[in-house]
Structure formats: C-alpha cells, structure tokens
C-alpha cells in the first residue's frame, strides 16, 4: 500500500512537471485552414433555433448557416463539430475547433482565455416561470429552485444576482435543464430567449412566461487566443455580410426579427 502511494506521488510530480512546461505554437490557424481547405467550426445542436438536429438528423440553425457562410467566403470546406455550452471553450483552447459559433456571449472571464471576433446575432437571457408565480425582482427568487445550464452565461449572471438561498440546480446541457423544468423538478428556468420560446410553445400546460432579464448579450464568434489573422479575416467577412444583408436575412429566417444594432 505504502509503495503504491509512493508511486502515485511520483507520477503526480511527473505530471505537474509535464504540465508546467511551456508549449509554444505558432499562430497560424488561418494559414492551416487555407492550406488544408478545411475549417473546423464548433456549433450547438441543443439550442434551437441557433443549432439543433433537423428531421434529416443533420445539424441546422442560425449558427450552422453562419458557419457555412464563413466557410464559403473563405472558399474552404466546413467540418461542423457539435459542442455543448460547457465544453465549447475547451474545444477552442485545445484547437479541436478553429472557430466557435455557438451562441457564445462575451464577458471578461472568457476574454481572458479566448479572443472574440464580431457579433453575428442578437440574444438575451432571462428567468422564466409559470404565470401563477409572482416574480417581480431577484429577491422574489429566494427559497425557490431554478434550473440552469452549467457554464452558460445565464449561470454566471444568475449566480451573481440571485439571493444566497436560491437553489440553483446546474445541468450539463440545455436538454437536461429543460427536462428538469418541464418535469417539475425545478420551479423556474434561467435560459436564453430562444430556448424559452421553444419550451413555452411545446409545453402550454406549464404556462411559463418571461419574468426577469438577466443579460442582453449578442452572440460573438470565438477564436483561439492570439489567432489574430483568423480573427481579422472573420471580422472582415461578418462586416461584409452585415452590409450585404446576408446576416439580416439569417436573423429574419431563424429568429423572426431584425438583428438590430450589433457591436463589432
């Protein structure tokens, strides 16, 4: 037993040493994409209408259309990688994806680890609950249970503003969060407007409605830290698509409303 503990400790030290060695990669994502004629883009499949699986089992939605738009402007093929809210940033950090187009909001914590290109679509997060429940301010949440997707923007926002005695139950992906709310395991749900719209439409018996705004946060395209060439190229494509009305068309098609004024 002692011997095996010693071995474990030794292995631990070895791993730590391995981890602290600095690994330096050249910042050449754009070059690689153009050389291999392939761009890997992380997209959601649990987030209608931004990204979901259609009747043909293929991913579709606003984010997928945006990904295809960027790939076609770059004149390369696109490989779509389905990700969840919780793992989309690790996919970018580990270079398993070149871009993340997955309803990614911008905040200082995220800006520390990845870079952001332009915004491409509007978005807001809010708390939703059945009509019979009186929720006028965040103080009214006290003692209640709220389902939220772990690591998503609404998780961070809710954690910041909710009173200490709110029971925040965090789930791995939006499907589980919605399932918890719909099955009555939680009294409320904090989620993006589009997810909520779907929940309300498909479960009229719950009578859920909009209660409190958590954050207005347009979606940005995520780029790995320091990949400036790729980021500027994406900015250029998005800016052109805004002018030509391509992005406005996507917003009308999937969200049924104008994209409004998006930050660069």
């Amino acid at each position: 037993m002692i011997n095996s503990i010693k071995k474990t400790l030794l292995l631990t030290c070895a791993l730590i040493l391995l981890g602290s060695t600095q690994v330096v990669h050249a910042q050449n994502a754009l070059e690689n994409i153009q050389k291999s004629k392939l761009i890997k883009i992380a997209i959601p499949t649990d987030f209608p209408p931004y990204g979901f699986v259609g009747p043909d089992l293929q991913p579709r939605g606003l984010d997928i259309d945006t990904a295809n738009l960027i790939a076609s402007k770059l004149n390369v093929k696109v490989e779509l990688i389905p990700v969840t809210s919780a793992n989309r940033i690790p996919y970018l950090q580990t270079k398993k994806a070149d871009l993340v187009i997955a309803t990614l909001g911008k905040n200082p914590e995220r800006e520390k680890v990845i870079d952001f290109a332009s915004a491409y679509s509007p978005f807001y997060q809010a708390v939703f609950a059945p009509k019979g429940m009186t929720v006028k301010s965040f103080a009214d949440l006290s003692g209640k249970t709220v389902a939220v997707t772990r690591g998503a923007m609404e998780d961070q926002e809710l954690t910041k503003v909710a009173p200490a005695n709110v029971e925040i139950r965090r789930f791995e992906d939006n499907n589980a969060t919605v399932a918890a709310f719909v099955s009555g395991q939680t009294q409320m749900i904090a989620t993006g407007a589009s997810v909520a719209a779907n929940v309300i439409q498909q479960n009229p018996q719950i009578g859920a409605e909009y209660k409190l705004l958590l954050k207005d946060s347009p979606n940005f395209i995520g780029v790995a830290k320091g990949e400036d060439a790729l980021r500027l190229k994406v900015d250029e494509i998005i800016s052109a698509a805004k002018k030509s009305g391509d992005l406005e068309k996507l917003s009308q098609k999937w969200l049924g409303r104008s994209m409004g004024n998006l930050p660069e």
């Binding site: 981890g19 919780a86 690790p90 389902a147 690591g151 791995e172 589980a176 918890a180 099955s183």
Partner: protein, 223 residues
Amino acid sequence: MNVQLDLGAVLAEWPLLVKGIFLTTFMIVVSGLLGIVLGCVLAWMNTQSRKFQMVIASVYIEVIRNTPFIVQLFFIFFGLPSLGVKLSPLAASMLAMTINLSAYSAEILRAGIESIPKGQLQAAKSLALQPLQTYTNIVLPQAFKNTWPALVSQIVIVMLGSSVCAQISTEELSYAANLIQSRNFRAFEAFFVATLAYLGLSLILRTFLDKAIARLIFKSTHG
C-alpha cells in the same frame, strides 16, 4: 498556445470541492449499506423454489444489470415526476445507486451461496432450522466471506460511477470539478484535483472495507 499549470485557481474554490467530497462519501455510505442489504434480500428470493419470488428477483436483477446506470438515473429523476414521484437530486442519486448496487451484489452473492456444500443445508434441515434461519445464520455469513473482495470492488465501482450523478445537478465531486472548470476554464487542473480526490476516496474506502469492516463482520464466523 501557452499552457501553464495553475492549481491555485482550482484550490481557491476549495469549499465546493470539500462539499463535493463530502456528498460523494455520504452517497456511497448510504447506498452502499442499503444496496448490500437489498442485495441479500434479492439473493434470498433468487434461491427460493417458489416461482413467483424467483421470477421477480431475476427480472429485477437482469433489468438493472443490462441497462446503463445513467439511464436508470434519468428515469428516476426526469421520468418519475410524470408519475407524481418527485425526488430531490440527492435522493434520486442515492436511490439509483442503491438499486444498481443491489442487483450486482445479489448476483455476486449468488456465487457465494452456490459455493456452499449441499450437505450443510441438509444438516440444517435435519436440525429443524427454518429456511430463513438457515439463510441468515449459515448460508449468508459464508457467502459474504467468500465473495467479500468482489463486493468491495463493486461498492468502489458504484462510488466512482456516482460521478454521473452530476448530470442531474447532484453537487458531488464531479459536479464541483465541472463547475470550477466552467468558471475559470482550468479544465486540466480541475479534473486533475478531482482525479486525486477520487483516487484517495477509493483507496480509503477499499482499505476500510477490506480491513475494518471485514474484521467486524467475519469475527463471529471465524470463531
């Protein structure tokens, strides 16, 4: 990309980790006890000549052993509310772990029960012991002794498998690691710490069951 190990960022969230470790331990203690007890009952039913009991026990054992733990967990947490049974995440997790462990331990105990010579059963019968008395006084202690290492392994497997309970928002160790990871994006460090914690918990649990508990429950049979 520069990779630098920053364990401090993860350890700064120590209250979450401590709570996670505590809950993981609590869950395995409760469901370990209940699971083994239920396993004994199932193993008993399974050895009965009465068809009805045997069929119930073997259907239960086969259904649980041939379906994934996460599906059982989701069924209890997301499925049962539509039948009017609403359990908290912690209760649902412990129920799923207990059910899972009971089916496996019943099957492990069956091997121990079958290893007992028929002569002992005949001797018990000739001494006018009731079947249940024979089971609890003669069969079960020996079956436990013979299969204890396998049972210990199964309990440890269930404890490690409890990491899945994070999926229904039970705030155990994996949940803590995932939450920390999603707050500061230190995935390697968060899961590294969680790995060490699980390793420690397993070693402690295994040693505890192998040494302390084994001595306690086998004392009477050793003489």
